[in-house]
Symmetry: D2
Subunit: 346 residues, 4 copies
C-alpha cells in the first residue's frame, strides 16, 4: 500500500497485532521456554481458552493460519472413506486451493442460504447417503464444516447452531466450526452464540487470531479430551507445529485476559454499522445483509470505476449479470477517521 | 521453564526474537498492508535476500516453519513417481512425522558420514537406479535433500557442495538445502560456503529464521525464477500461506539489513567453542565433532544423572551400547553468564 | 441371482466374456510370455488399437477396471494445483468413492444436460478461473473428464466433441474420455463419433472392456506418445499393473480383430430399442432419452413394487418428487428370449 | 517370448491359468450374476477360504493384483500418523513404485535375515519408538508387513511366525502377510506354517492367485469380521473393486475345491529341487538357500554371458562386488522337459 493514497478496507488482516500483544511479546522476549507448546505460556493460554469456552478438559493447539487449521483438523476427523460437508461457498470448498482434496478427502458442497448451512440440508445429505443403494461406491458424509461468521459475514443463530449440532450427533458426524473471524461475531449485539455454546455444540473449532488482532495464529479446540488421537503428531506431519509454540500462545493469552477477545471486534462492528447506513443512504445495493465486519456490495462497472481510485476493497465474485460483488472489511484496527473518509467517498 | 532453576541449553528456539526485529514489528505495527505477501515489506525483504544470495531473479517466499517449508518444496519439486534422497539422519527422514510420505513421496534414506551425504553416495544411488532392470517398478530418485548445518551440526565444505551439485545436475535432480540453522554455519570461521555459493549450487533452499533470531519464519528461495510453477498456490494448498505475509518478511528484512544474518550466529559459535573446550578438558566424549552451535555428547547413565538436575539438554538418540547422545545447543541469545555457569557444572 | 427367478437387466457386467475371448484365452493358456505387458500379445493388441483409433504412435496400456483407469490417468494428467472438470453426474464425481480426491485432486463438478458437458460450460469455468482475482487461492481447472456414452446413456455428437476439444486445447486442458461403454456407442446408428475421432480429439481415453465383452480390462490410450511421462510406473504405483499383462491384452486383441468391437454392442442396442418401444407403448416415463444400452425409467412406488418381483433393475437415484430413477441395461449378451419376457412383464 | 528360443525360468507368472480354472470359467461364462462380489460364486469362494483358513467369520475380498492388495490393506490398517514395518527387502519397500508412500505412509524398512524379519527386530523398533523422547515428531510403527515366502524365497517357521505375531499383539500392531506365492510355501515339505496358522496369527493377509495358477487375482482375508471398517469402499476408492467380481472368485473357488491350492505348487517345488541339485553339482553359487520355487544364483559376468543366450532368468540386484543376483523361478506349470533342458544348459 506504501505510496498508495487510497483508503484500505480490503481485509481484516492489514495491520499487525493489538498493542497489548506486542507489548507482551516484548516483555517476555528473552525468557527461555520449552519448544513445541510444552511451555508455561502455552499452558496458561490453554487454560484461559478452556475457561472461556466452558470446556475444562479441551485439547487446545495453536497453529499458524486458518487453511492449515482446517486442513489439519479435517484430516484428523475424517476416515479415508469420508468427506466433509460444507456450504458451496465455504472457504474450504473454494478458497483453500484444494487443501482438503490434497489431504485425500472430498468436499461435499451443499446449497446454502447467505453462506449458511441449515440442519435440514445436512440431514437431507446424510439421509440421501443412507438411502442410496450405491452408497458403498460413494463418499460417506463424515463431518460438517461451518464458518461463523460465514464467508459472507452472516451469523448462525443459537437455534440454528443447536439444530445443526443435533443433526450431526444424530448421524455421528463431528461438527467443526471455522472461527477465523469469531471475534467479530462475538462483538455483535445480534449474535446469540457465545463461546460456551460453541464449546458445547461443536466437536472441534478454531478461534481466529490472524483476523482478530494477532500477528498470526489460530487456536484449535477439541472440547472432548483425546477425541482426536495423536493430534500433536498430525499437526507436525502437516508442517503446522511451531517450534516457538509460545509465540502464538502468548498472543492468545493476551486475547483471553480480561475478556479482550470479546471486546476486540467492537470497533469493527461499530464502523461497519456506520458504513452500512451510509451505503443505504447513497443507494448502493448490499448483498448478504449481516451485522459483522464484512460489508458486501454489488457494483456495476461505472460504480466500480468511480470507487476504485479512492477505496481499495476486495473482489469476491462476478455475478451472473456481470456486476461484481465487492467486500468492504473493517477490523479491530479500523479508525473513525478512515471511516469518515470512506463515507465521504461513497 | 518457569520455576525450573536449571540452565537451559536445550535448543536454539527457546527465546523470542532478536531485539531489532521486535522493534521493527512495533514500529510498523499499525501500518496497513496487502495480504499474502503482496506488500512492500515482502518485496523489500525479497530484494535483500536476492542480493545476499547473488540470485537476482530468485523467487522468494516466507513460510512459518521448517517442516512446512520442506514439505511444500519437496512436494513442488518432485513428480509423482519420484522420491527424495536424504541422509538416513536427515530431518525429513526421521523427525518430521512422515510429512514427505504424507505428501505421497518416498524418502530414499542413504548412508551418511556425520550427517552428510557425499556426492559419491548420491551418484551411486542414481546410477543403481539407472542400471536396475526393475527400475520402472521402483521410485525414481528425483531430488536431493541436504541440511547445512546438518542435524549433527556438521558442515559441508564448499568442495563437497560443489561435488554434490555437479552430480545432481548431471542426473537432473534438483539439489535442495535445508538451512534451518544456516546463520550458525555462516558465523563459523571454518565454513567456506557463502550464501551466493548456495544460490549458485542449489536449486531450492531455505534460510532459517525460527532458529536464527525470528519469532518464526523461514525464507524459501528458488534461484531460477519460475522453476517451480504455481508455487504460491502450492503454498496455499499446504496451509503455509500467511495472511499477514509482511510479519515474517519484516523479520527477514531486519536480518538482511546491514548484514545481521551473517553476524547473528556469532555469540552461539563463540560460546559453543568455550563449552567444547571445557568438555574436552573434563573428559566428556563428544560425537560428531563440528564447529557450529550443536554440541553432541555421549553420556552414560551416571553422567546423565549427574548433569540432568543442573542443565537441560536435548535427547538425540540412544546408542547401541545403551549410552545416550545428548545435545547442548547454544543460540544467538546465549549469554556469557549462562555459559560460565554451564562450564562450572560440567 | 442363483435361485432368483427374476429377469436380470441390472447391468452390462452380469455375464463373463464373449465366447471368442474365452476360446483365445484357452488356446494360448499354457504358452509362456513375459510379464507386465512386455509380451507379444500385448504388442499386437496395442497395434490393433492404434490402427483402429488412427493413432499410430499412441501409448496403450491395459488396466483392470474403470475407476482404476480414471484414477491413474487423472493423477497422471493433473499437476498438484489442478483439478478435473466433470459433469456433476460424472462417474468420477459420484460413484468412485472419492478416488480422485484420494489421489489429491478436486473434482470441479459442473452443470450438465442429460449427463453431458457442453463446450460453453467448460469455457465458462476456465474463463471464470482466469478472471477471478483470487484464482491463486483456488484449484486450477487442469483437465476435462467426459464419458461417452454418459452415465445416463446419452451420446455426444461429433460436433459437440469437436467443440469440447477445441475449448480444451484453447485453454491447455487435456480432454479425457471415459469409454467404459464405448462399444454401445459405436453400435448405435445415431452415433457419429468414430474411434479415430476420439483418437484425434481427446488427449487420453479408455476403451471399455469389462462392460463390453471381456472378463475384465480396459485399454487406456494416450494418442501422443510420451505425453504422459512415466505412465508405466504410475500404473504400478496405483496397483494397476497386471503381472500377467497378456490376459487383458489377448481379450482386447480379440475385440479388435475383424472389427468385433464395432459389432459386439449391436444386440444390446437392438434389444434396448425393442424395450424402449414397449415402455412407451405401456406408458412408462423414460428419462434421459438415449439410443444406447441404458434405459432410464421413472417409477412411482406402485410401479416399482409391481415390477421388482419380476425384473431386477438397477437403482440410479431418488428424484426430488420421491419417485425413483431405475435403469434397465442390456448388454452384448442379452438374449431375445429374455427381452421378450421382459416386454411381457411391463 | 514368441520367436525367442530360450528356456524361460523368468517368473511364475508366464503362463495363463490352471486348466480347471479355465474350464470353470467357460462352464459359467454365460450365467448372469450380480456385480461387485455380491454373487453366489463369490459367496461360495469366501466360504471355502474361511474353512481352509480356520477363520469362520473372516471378511474376504478378491482383488486383481498384489501391489494393489498391499496398498489397499496397508492404507486401511494404518492411521495417518503411522507407518508400516517391513524388511528392507520387502516388496512394498522396493518394488511397488512407492505405492505405500503414495497412500501417505512411510515404510519403516528394517534389517532382515534372508528376507525375513525377526520378532526381535520388530520389538526393538517398537521399543525404540516408545522410548524415544522425540517420538511425537516421528512416524509410529503401526503394523508389520511380511511376505511368506519372502522375496528371496525363504520361509518363516511356525515358531518364527508365532513369535512375530506375539510381538505384534503385545505392541498393538496388526501383522499382515503378503502371500503372493503362498501356494509354493504350502507345497514345501519344509514348511510348517499351515493356512489355519496364518488365519490365527495374522490380522490380515492375502492368498496369492496370480503367481499360483489364476489368470489374475488375490484373496484378501481379514480373519476378524469388521476389523477393517468400510473395506468395500476403500477397495472401490483405490480402483481395486472388480465389476465382475465373480471372475476372480470362481478362480479361487476352483483353487479351494478338493485342496487344489495345497497341491498346485508341488511341481514347482519338485523341479526347483532338481535344479538346485544340478546347480550345486556344477558349482554355481546359490544365495538365500530356500526350499521354494525361487532359486537365487550369483553370477559373474562370464557366467551370465554364457547362460543368458540359453535361459531367460530374472534380474534381482547387483551385488557390491559387481556380480549379479539372478533368479530362476519355477511354477505350477513348469514341465519336466523344460527342467531337463535347463539342467543340461547349466
Amino acid at each position: 500500500m506504501g505510496t498508495d493514497r487510497r483508503l484500505h478496507f480490503t481485509s481484516d488482516y492489514m495491520e499487525g497485532a493489538h498493542p497489548l500483544i506486542l507489548r507482551r511479546l516484548a516483555e517476555t522476549n528473552l525468557e527461555q521456554s520449552a519448544g513445541y507448546g510444552e511451555d508455561t505460556y502455552t499452558a496458561a493460554a490453554r487454560e484461559k481458552i478452556r475457561a472461556a469456552c466452558g470446556t475444562p478438559e479441551a485439547d487446545v493447539f495453536f497453529l499458524a493460519g486458518g487453511t492449515q487449521t482446517n486442513a489439519v483438523l479435517t484430516g484428523a476427523l475424517l476416515r479415508p472413506w469420508q468427506g466433509v460437508i460444507s456450504a458451496r461457498s465455504g472457504h474450504i470448498s473454494v478458497h483453500e486451493a484444494g487443501a482438503i482434496e490434497a489431504g485425500g478427502h472430498k468436499v461435499l458442497a451443499l446449497e446454502h442460504r447467505d453462506g449458511k448451512l441449515s440442519a435440514e440440508t445436512v440431514r437431507a445429505c446424510a439421509e440421501e447417503y443412507r438411502q442410496d443403494e450405491n452408497r458403498d461406491h460413494m463418499v460417506e458424509p463424515g463431518m460438517v464444516y461451518i464458518s461463523h461468521p460465514t464467508e459472507y459475514g452472516t451469523l448462525y443463530s443459537l437455534a440454528e447452531l443447536e439444530a445443526l449440532s443435533a443433526v450431526c450427533r444424530e448421524y455421528g458426524m463431528p461438527l467443526y466450526l471455522d472461527g477465523a473471524r469469531l471475534a467479530y461475531a462475538l462483538a455483535c449485539p445480534e449474535n446469540d452464540v457465545a463461546l460456551p455454546d460453541i464449546g458445547r455444540l461443536c466437536d472441534a473449532f478454531y478461534i481466529g487470531g490472524t483476523k482478530c488482532g494477532t500477528l498470526f495464529g489460530e487456536a484449535a479446540v477439541i472440547p472432548k479430551h483425546g477425541a482426536v488421537p495423536h493430534l500433536f503428531t498430525m499437526i507436525k506431519q502437516r508442517g503446522a507445529l511451531l517450534a516457538k509454540g509460545r509465540i502464538p500462545a502468548i498472543q492468545f493469552d493476551v486475547l483471553f485476559t480480561d475478556g479482550l477477545y470479546l471486546e476486540i471486534g467492537k470497533p469493527a462492528i461499530e464502523t461497519a454499522a456506520r458504513i452500512r447506513e451510509a451505503l443505504d443512504r447513497k443507494g448502493y445495493e448490499q448483498a448478504f445483509p449481516n451485522p459483522t465486519n464484512q460489508i458486501l456490495i454489488v457494483l456495476d462497472e461505472e460504480q466500480a470505476e468511480a470507487l476504485s481510485p479512492k477505496v481499495e476493497m476486495s473482489f469476491m465474485e462476478r455475478m451472473p449479470d456481470g456486476r461484481i460483488l465487492m467486500r468492504i472489511a473493517t477490523s479491530w484496527a479500523t479508525t473513525a477517521a478512515d471511516t469518515d473518509r470512506l463515507i465521504e467517498c461513497l
